[in-house]
Assembly symmetry: C2
Homo-oligomer: 435 residues x 2
Amino acid sequence: MKNKLSVQPYKGTRDFYPQDMHYRNWYFQVVRSVIESYGFEEYHTPLLESYDIYTAKSGEEIAHEQLFVFEDKKDRKVAIRPEMTPSVARMVAAQIESLTPPLRWYSVANFMRYEKPQKGRLREHWQVNVDIFGADVIEADLEIISIISNILKAFGADQKMFKIKLNNRRFFNDVLKYILKVEDESIRLISKVVDKKTKIPDEKYKEWLKEIGLSQQKIILLDKIFSSTFEELVQMMDVDSNGIRELNELFYLIKETGLDKFCEFDFSIVRGFDYYTGTVFEVYDASPENKRSLFGGGRYDDLVGMFKDFAISGIGFGLGDVTFQNFLEIHSLIPEHIYKKPIVLISRFHDVPLKEYFKISTLLRENNISNFIYFSPDEKLGKQLRFAEKKGASLAIVLGADELTDKKISIKELKTRTQITVKQDELISKLKEML
Amino acid sequence: MKNKLSVQPYKGTRDFYPQDMHYRNWYFQVVRSVIESYGFEEYHTPLLESYDIYTAKSGEEIAHEQLFVFEDKKDRKVAIRPEMTPSVARMVAAQIESLTPPLRWYSVANFMRYEKPQKGRLREHWQVNVDIFGADVIEADLEIISIISNILKAFGADQKMFKIKLNNRRFFNDVLKYILKVEDESIRLISKVVDKKTKIPDEKYKEWLKEIGLSQQKIILLDKIFSSTFEELVQMMDVDSNGIRELNELFYLIKETGLDKFCEFDFSIVRGFDYYTGTVFEVYDASPENKRSLFGGGRYDDLVGMFKDFAISGIGFGLGDVTFQNFLEIHSLIPEHIYKKPIVLISRFHDVPLKEYFKISTLLRENNISNFIYFSPDEKLGKQLRFAEKKGASLAIVLGADELTDKKISIKELKTRTQITVKQDELISKLKEML
């Protein structure tokens, strides 16, 4: 063995073998069917985008550290998409005059970020993105919360397993402005630190706050803010604000529609991206051993501003495959046997010409029964059947020269190795009965 | 408007709006269902691969001119996959000891090549890849031909619309060796020129042959070879060869199984990639105005050799979305209305609380009826209904305060604007009847 190339996939990416793909297809199918039940339509975007759409609006970490960015042969600076929002914003901007908002759009796509691979974080991951564009009404926020609850319920999760934690960026900003009494740029920097709060040690958190200029007194006040309820914060603020009004309306509708058992207010939810402006939320695993954010999203008012002078807002979320798989595993929500379409083996003998097996195979396919013909008639039947079992087949067709003459055919159940013989024209009805 | 970013997708790539995605999903669903009816399993690979897997075996044009290649932050040279074969070979090699060949594997994925965008050629395209690994028997070649015929038939194409043109690389090499009497390296170079034959002017074709050292006499002989039938070539060769045996066996089985009406021998089929070794084929549009190759594939004997010292062969094909869409359009094979799951609008009035509409929406979803609630009760019913039509809804639920009191509900057919009123507990059965 000399100069053999590595069989490892690129760092932080995964090979999906059939059993992995089978899981992934099941997973996204559950999510898709909930999303489509709300009338959402699927879209997709190119893999590469111009680099500048990520520098304009995304969180700084993505644009500067996590992008896979390079120049093409004509010196265009391009990046592999690290998230969906800038791409879909571009698409909406491009056809804004002919589209009829509100748009209920979703996509299932892969994304790449240059991260240090670790549990729950890979360089390439798959994510479903769900957004409502052009509906600046609280009903849209409610619909998104409703979709999220129903996705979790569709996987069999109940209210003890997860919690949707809600906040509002306008409210967050107003609390910092009127209670903590800090200026706009400080608010932005504080939001970045708060977003990392649960992921870093407490000392580091306080150190960072000091670094951005918060006094000891204000850090204590910020702690007090975090331990306060929504009502207490409203009282401390003592001014009217759109953030308060929006949160009040949203929580009223959440209660009215029975979604309150899944939701709670949490002032520490801010989301890392700069583009969020209104409602923000994160879905948390509620089990004590896995208290982490599973996914999240929120409302962004200036969706297409970097492309066109046009006011359109959006609200949505992204749900990946990696973190959420951990959640499903911890709560034993992955079925032991994910449904697979049954497959039938057509075994072969030397004394029957291939064309006879070919006819049976065609007949089965015409009746929507997946099947394959064993390649080599040189192998003994036992070996053919063991191969079929490994490939997940449940039944085998056995046809020898005698049976061919008698216009008969045998069906073998692979699990029990029991066999029945039927007339050829009864084959399909018998197979359908047994599958 | 100052400093607005471009809304154009990256050169040679496409945005898929919902109607485009709806087409793409339909297209690949037709292909998938045929492939799965033969017992194939889906796999997927990472977007990026190490650069060196493309320099080892692919056609030179891809490795040197068409790759999107760059260095990551740790100076690893990586490429966006331009095709599937090297990636899947790596996956097979990685787990060769635990996999049970033959493997029937397929994938649906996107690929990027730095091409000059033109009709039928984009920089990013989507392709289904279908392969049988580890079955060095002619039955596998037959199965692949059978799958291709059935994919085309599943789209409604008949034998007048397409032709599967077959050749064999071993046979091609032997013909050049024994009739044209040229050496191995010349054979390789001639195969590259022949692969381009139909795409370039005849003068250029002859110029290229001269450049690689073919005499005028041999160029004339090569012309004669191309105008010869399989039988004539066999006679001219006057030696026994594996290529002849394989082609004879394959054409015998093709005839036996009734696939001969879709197939023909064509000595000019060689395929661009160096890795093909046995059967090669291309599917041609048979209509006079579009005589072009739609897609193709073949057998490669040394699948995993660059990764492991292990003998495993494969045969398969790749079927893209771009060229094939042209074919479907030319032959009017795209249905006027691609099936879409019906959607119901739930219209809103001011005098009914949102929670009542929410209950109906939930009830409909529980009965597998996709629906959405109109966001604003401020809009007149007419506007709500027009919006629903634009979104492809066929029915609308109408519930005012009086109906709520009477436990009644109205269903409006959007096309005719006719309306019926039913008891609330009859809603689902009536909807199912009308959808």
